[in-house]
């Protein structure tokens, strides 16, 4: 086994996914098969290889820090599940 159900539960907590037991079972099998497949990369010696993050070489893009038009509060909140005049309503964070 490349990954256990306990590890899958741990990853689900990290990913903020409240998976039900059937989903956890299915994902344990799927992830195990996929991780076994990707293990083939270990056959390649990459000790002297530089990793590629972007295929096109690029440096940081800077721009002047100028005030520009931006969203109105109404636009920023137009898709909010629980809008509030003061911002976005969420469950209590600190008990």
């Amino acid at each position: 086994m490349k990954i256990s159900r306990t590890e899958v539960e741990h990853v689900a907590r990290l990913a903020r996914l409240a998976l039900d037991p059937a989903e956890l079972d299915a994902l344990t099998g799927d992830m195990d098969a996929i991780l076994a497949y990707v293990d083939q990369l270990k056959r390649l010696d990459t000790s002297a290889i530089v990793p590629t993050a972007h295929a096109v070489p690029m440096a940081n893009a800077f721009r002047p820090d100028e005030v520009r038009p931006s969203f109105t509060p109404e636009q920023a909140q137009q898709n909010a599940p629980a809008p509030d005049p003061a911002g976005f309503r969420v469950p209590r964070v600190i008990e």
Binding site: A18, M31, Y37, L41, K42, T46, P51, M58, N60, F88
Partner: protein, 485 residues
């Protein structure tokens, strides 16, 4: 000939000669969508009323003599492009009611020219899939055979053009999501070089791989639409500030002096016999047109799918962290604390494949596994990219199949994610290398399904692809066949 059968270029000519109005053309496509979409499910949102208003505005612009290349041309957008005022779902339940306050740059550019938005087309949820079966709005069907998938993830973009519900569409390609559906639906699809087209306002899947591109009936239309969207955008720092050539100038016949490479790894075991025959026939056509054919090697091809499913899922797990139900998106009705609200909303809102990829990516980035999976994959990515750079030392364009088989049947591969992933084996390496590639029709299978030819070019050499594709298209009749729907 009905207006909905015209290419983008023919629509342009007809509009310029006042043979018909944009309103008439737009109505023809809206009628076509109404007549055929119950069978195909290519559209998530049809913008009938708004499209007719935009067409009327385009007609006024035409009358004023102020027409741009796309003025009055109806288009469809993959539902991954933010379109102000029209909902953008990304084919996900989590964004089912999302209405963006702004336009994606690629859409803003065609809109500024006066193009008419027919609607938003279906796709795999968050562009994750190869069959368009992962949509929260239902699967799309292939216009050539409605028992088959159209490919994915831009399945709606390819199906709507193949069925002439729209003369052209924009899609996105992260591992083959434009080219593979274009091949399966018998249309032309281009994945430009990473950085050629702005990704601003395109809902992110895997940011180092995603790229915007056109889906069209023929190669001339591809050049026309690419011209409209290519170029630097200050709002996307990964868009590259290099001059945009005149793509129409690349549409030349004759291939004398062009060196075409055949990667031996793309013609190995597992290639469907009909696909092999069609691609080999295409090689013979290119040789007859004067091209020099050489064998090349892309030795790390077999590692590309494994490499991709670590890098793409890692980036996806990070990008999709934003769906936390606070500022936008589905929020659970269940009571709970903040973490429970995040976790339940995400579990309710995401489909199975999206969860699978978030989980895999979270694992690949998690403490203790980062070096073994994510970093390893980034190093293998370097090897895959180097394969292409080496091959382009001796050839101008690389030619091969787009997909190992023609379109498969609905539900044929849904039970085995790995089998589904392997259908992208010839398209994924191009995204990892960051270069450009085009898919165009090159034949049909015994059962009448289209087969796609893939042309891969050097970085920012889209003109080379358009040249070879146009010469091939002019010498063949495949692009003139139409699905019977």
């Amino acid at each position: 000939m009905s207006l909905f059968e015209l290419t983008l270029q023919d629509l342009r000519t007809g509009l310029d000669r006042r043979e018909f109005s944009s309103a008439e053309a737009t109505r023809a496509f809206l009628d076509r969508i109404a007549a055929t979409d119950p069978q195909l499910n290519a559209f998530i949102t049809v913008c009938a009323e708004q499209a007719l208003a935009e067409a009327a505005a385009a007609d006024r612009r035409l009358a004023a003599g102020d027409a741009a290349p796309l003025t009055g041309i109806p288009l469809a957008m993959k539902d991954i492009f933010n379109t102000a005022g029209v909902r953008t779902t990304c084919a996900s339940k989590i964004l089912a009611d999302y209405v963006s306050p702004y336009d994606a740059t690629a859409f803003a550019r065609v809109k500024a020219q006066g193009a008419v938005l027919l609607g938003k087309v279906n796709m795999d949820e968050f562009a994750m899939g190869s069959s368009n079966e992962n949509s929260a709005f239902g699967a799309v069907r292939n216009p050539w055979d409605t028992a088959c998938v159209p490919g994915g993830s831009s399945g709606g973009s390819a199906a709507c053009v193949a069925a002439r519900q729209a003369p052209a569409a924009l899609g996105t390609d992260t591992g083959g999501s434009i080219r593979q559906p274009a091949a399966h639906c018998g249309v032309v699809g281009l994945k430009p070089t990473y950085g050629r087209v702005s990704r601003f306002g395109v809902i992110a899947y895997a940011s180092s791989l995603d790229q915007v591109g056109p889906v069209t009936i023929d190669v001339r239309d591809c050049a026309l639409l690419l011209q409209a969207i290519a170029g630097h955008d200050p709002l996307d720092s990964t868009s590259v500030d290099t001059p945009v050539p005149d793509y129409a100038a690349a549409l030349r016949t004759g291939l004398e002096g062009v060196r075409i490479g055949l990667p031996k790894e793309y013609f190995g075991e597992g290639l469907d016999t009909d696909v092999r025959r069609a691609v080999e026939q295409a090689v013979a056509t290119c040789r007859d047109l004067g091209a020099e054919i050489r064998e090349v090697s892309l030795p790390h091809t077999g590692y590309a799918v494994a490499c991709y499913y670590l890098i793409a899922t890692a980036e996806a797990s990070s990008n999709l962290a934003r769906y936390d139900s606070v500022r936008f998106g589905h929020r659970t009705a269940a009571a709970g604390n903040l973490i429970e609200t995040y976790s339940r909303s995400r579990d309710e809102g995401f489909g199975a494949e999206v969860k699978r990829r978030i989980m895999l990516g979270t694992y690949a980035l998690s403490s203790g596994y980062y070096d073994a999976y994510y970093l390893k994959a980034q190093k293998v990515r370097t090897l895959i990219r180097q394969d292409f750079l080496d091959a382009f030392e001796t050839v101008d364009v690389i030619l091969g199949p787009v997909a190992p088989t023609p379109a498969f049947r609905l539900n044929e591969k849904t039970a085995d994610p790995l089998q589904m992933y392997l259908s992208d084996i010839f398209t994924i390496p191009v995204n990892l290398a960051g270069t450009c590639a085009l898919s165009l029709p090159c034949g049909f299978s015994g059962s009448g399904l289209p087969i796609g030819l893939q042309l891969i070019g050097k970085p920012f050499a889209e003109s080379d692809l358009l040249h070879v594709a146009y010469a091939f298209e002019q010498a063949t009749e495949w692009h003139k066949r139409r699905a019977a729907i």
